[in-house]
């Protein structure tokens, strides 16, 4: 089972959000799973066309994903997936 971790900043909007294990095989499936447990959260991470929001990052095992448009990056069952906000703005 891969592990999904979230930035603390998302907990402001989804207080029950916590690290979770997933049997999903793609990032799209991961988003689908967490949308079911936390309705509305998908729209905080990706826009309505499915692209990762400009100031949101997803790391897989410490590396930034490459496919921000379709989230096609792969991961293994031992992977750690980290959904985090970019440091920007003021």
């Amino acid at each position: 089972m891969a592990t999904v971790k979230f930035t603390y900043a998302l907990k402001k909007f989804f207080p029950g959000l916590k690290e979770t294990s997933t049997g999903a095989h793609s990032l799209q499936e991961v988003l689908h799973e967490i949308e079911i447990s936390h309705p509305g959260i998908r729209s905080y991470i990706v826009d309505e066309q499915g692209s990762l929001r400009k100031h949101v990052n997803i790391f897989i095992d410490g590396s930034l994903i490459n496919d921000r448009a379709k989230l096609g990056d792969s991961f293994s069952k031992d992977s750690e997936i980290y959904i985090i906000q970019a440091l920007s703005g003021g």
Partner: protein, 360 residues
């Protein structure tokens, strides 16, 4: 005067209330989040917060109890596959206007967005649908472009109270469009406007009405603070006449308000042109006309007259009966009880102010 004002600011949704003969801070919501529009639906008293999270996208919240509790509703979203232009996916980048659908359409709400989509709800805002007829207007992809923002945006939605299916929208940069059938079909209403920034100043679209408002006593009289002057129409937008002062100060700016009881009386908040976007000569003034724009009077009593950088964004000047209020880019909030004759400072320490609305 309505006793509440709602402020949309760079750092939250702020309510002030008038009691015991003075304005007082009432509450702050969404602390730290940019609020592009703080809107009250006068029909229901529902407050709406249009949020522009830098990281998490545009969000929409509403409250039926003056902010005691808020509920997030699905923000307007572009259908899958829609594009601004070829290769640029369409996503909601900013909510720039909100309007209720009128007394005869109690469930109807309108929202204007960057990148140029108008959205309509027929279920009290539980869901919003893209108005396809305007989005697919033949002029959009080539004849609309960004002005003030990177992409075209709808910042003004004016519903005619005599026929609430008749709506004018203001788009930067495209111009003024009118529907008489609740958005099924559209007419361009740009005749008489200027677009000095275009190679062809008589183009069909590409105009930059910074804000469009109607006179409450005669909705056929429309006013706009435009990028290229102040324009007025007495025939519901079919013809526009520049009523600004060529040599200023009532010329360039963003905001305009019209008196609730007099279609000839309006206020603008002058700024230096697009070269600098600062207060004119370092001094803040509001200009008022009492004769439909034939003449303007600069009103400065109580406003800073030196070393001032404030300008007033397009939704940040509002009127209610004799009262006027405006907020500035540097977080100053000013109030006049007498149509601008004299001004008092309500705060010098607010965030950048994007919108002001009087409410119950």
């Amino acid at each position: 005067m309505l006793p509440t004002v709602l402020l949309g600011t760079r750092k939250g949704f702020i309510a002030w209330h008038f009691s015991k003969n003075r304005w007082q801070f009432e509450n702050l919501f969404f602390e730290g989040s940019p609020v592009s529009i703080a809107y009250a639906d006068a029909r229901t008293g529902t407050w709406w917060a249009c949020l522009d999270h830098g990281h998490w996208g545009v969000k929409l919240h509403r409250s039926n109890n003056r902010g005691k509790t808020w509920e997030e509703v699905t923000a307007p979203a572009y259908p899958e596959g829609e594009v601004i232009k070829d290769g640029i996916p369409a996503t909601t980048r900013y909510i720039w206007a909100m309007a209720d659908g009128g007394k005869n359409f109690k469930s109807r709400l309108w929202i204007g967005t960057d990148p140029g989509g108008l959205f309509m709800s027929e279920d009290k805002g539980n869901s919003f649908q893209l108005v396809e007829s305007l989005w697919k207007h033949p002029t959009r992809k080539e004849g609309w472009f960004g002005g003030g923002r990177d992409q075209p945006g709808i910042h003004s939605i004016v519903v005619d109270p005599r026929n609430e299916n008749r709506v004018h929208v203001g788009i930067s940069c495209a111009g003024v469009f009118e529907t008489i059938d609740a958005g099924k079909t559209w007419e361009i209403r740009n005749k008489g406007m200027r677009a000095e920034f275009l190679p062809n100043p008589d183009a069909e679209t590409g105009y930059d009405p910074h804000i469009l408002v109607a006179a409450p006593t005669n909705p056929d009289i429309l006013w706009q603070q435009n990028h290229c002057g102040i324009f007025r129409s007495v025939d519901a937008g079919r013809n526009w006449i520049d009523v600004g002062q060529a040599e200023g100060p009532a010329n360039f700016g963003f905001a305009i308000a019209v008196a609730e009881d007099n279609a000839e009386q309006a206020w603008v908040a002058p700024a230096n042109s697009d070269m600098t976007r600062t207060a004119v000569k370092g001094a803040l003034c509001i200009c008022r006309t009492d004769d439909g724009g034939k003449s303007w009077k600069a009103m400065r009593n109580g406003l800073p007259q030196e070393n001032c950088f404030d300008i007033v964004y397009r939704h940040a000047l509002a009127t209610s009966q004799d009262a006027l209020m405006f907020g500035t880019t540097t977080g100053n909030l000013f109030f006049s009880p007498d149509r601008g004759e004299k001004w008092q400072v309500l705060s010098n320490y607010l965030p950048m102010i994007y919108s002001i609305q009087f409410a119950e």
